[in-house]
């Protein structure tokens, strides 16, 4: 992506995210308080984040590969089960992948 395209993505995302925050504080409750809307809103981050995990760890261009990233994710799962803080989880995954590549 070119620098201009990246700036466009940064500014569009900023505008979109801010608009959503303002909307939440401003719109009448009835608009968003429908059970279906609520359920979609609760499940949306779950679906997007898990798809992001899968793609970030397994995709290499248009192929699926198992490499150091998958080992890093396995360590991240273990650390999350041990209730490690965010930064420890992320660093643990990075360190695992780095060590495997250094071998």
């Amino acid at each position: 992506m070119s620098a201009t395209a990246l700036w466009l993505a940064v500014l569009l995302t900023a505008a979109g995210c801010y608009a959503l925050k303002v909307a939440g504080l401003s719109v009448p409750r009835a608009v968003l308080e429908r059970p279906r809307v609520r359920r979609v809103a609760d499940l949306l981050p779950v679906a997007l984040l898990s798809a992001l995990v899968a793609v970030q760890v397994l995709a290499d261009g248009d192929r699926l590969v198992l490499d150091g990233r998958a080992a890093g994710l396995a360590v991240a799962v273990a650390l999350l089960l041990l209730r490690a803080p965010f930064l420890v989880v992320v660093a643990g995954a990075a360190l695992t992948a780095a060590l495997l590549r250094a071998l």
């Binding site: 504080l25 997007l48 793609v55 995709a59 992320v90």
Partner: protein
């Protein structure tokens, strides 16, 4: 504020909690900064994201889609969709905050996971308001400082793969997802979305698999039988 006033403010448990949450959350801005420059964004673009977008999951999403070669549209759409939850936080916060005009414009920027959690955990309305502002501002300051440190440090590192920074992105998304996996429905949605995204990787342009997987939430949420509200 005078030191005396700071001391007396810090005696309020909600203020202490807010500052603690702010520091803890802010710290992981370091990982965002490092991952963002590794994905090819400049230090300035990385800092602009934390200043202007200021909602962690969306920032990581944008950077993740950029790193995998997605388009501006795919990166923006994924990031903004993830930010949709903040609108629902605002709904819950509005009656408690009672803000209008410029104060509302400022408060809106601080509507994130952490400020909402601290504000809604308070029994007392005044504590809730204090919790929102203190946490929001503490996270804002720490998150932006940490982003800058991570971005500058990440740039000095050299090859991101040698430090496993590509593996850090997946782990960051998993850590953000983890607390949302309570109950059968979210777990099934998570598995379905991940499987669908993987299935689409060979057939669609970068960025599309993740957006398509968002459709799983739409299907399950809109067509499933609405459960009882908690």
């Amino acid at each position: 504020m005078s030191p005396g006033r700071v001391r007396s403010a810090l005696r309020r448990p909600v203020v202490r909690d807010g500052v603690a949450v702010g520091v803890a959350t802010g710290l992981y801005g370091v990982s965002f900064g490092a991952v963002s420059v590794a994905a090819g964004l400049s230090v300035l673009q990385t800092c602009a994201l934390s200043l202007l977008v200021f909602t962690g999951a969306s920032q990581f999403a944008l950077v993740g889609v950029v790193a995998s070669g997605g388009t501006v549209l795919a990166a923006t759409a994924t990031a903004v969709l993830l930010g949709a939850r903040n609108a629902f936080y605002g709904l819950r916060l509005a009656p408690r905050l009672e803000v209008a005009g410029l104060r509302r414009a400022a408060a809106a920027h601080l509507v994130i996971d952490e400020s909402t959690a601290v504000a809604t955990a308070q029994v007392d309305d005044a504590d809730g308001r204090a919790g929102f502002w203190v946490t929001g501002l503490a996270v804002f300051v720490c998150w932006n400082l940490a982003t800058a440190v991570g971005a500058v440090g990440g740039q000095a590192l050299g090859d991101p793969r040698a430090y496993g920074l590509d593996a850090a992105v997946g782990a960051a998304f998993l850590a953000l997802l983890w607390p949302r996996l309570h109950g059968t429905v979210p777990r099934l949605v998570a598995l379905g979305a991940a499987a669908l995204a993987c299935g689409l990787v060979p057939w669609t342009p970068a960025g599309v698999p993740v957006l398509a997987a968002g459709g799983v939430a739409l299907l399950v949420g809109a067509w499933g039988r609405p459960g009882r509200e908690p």
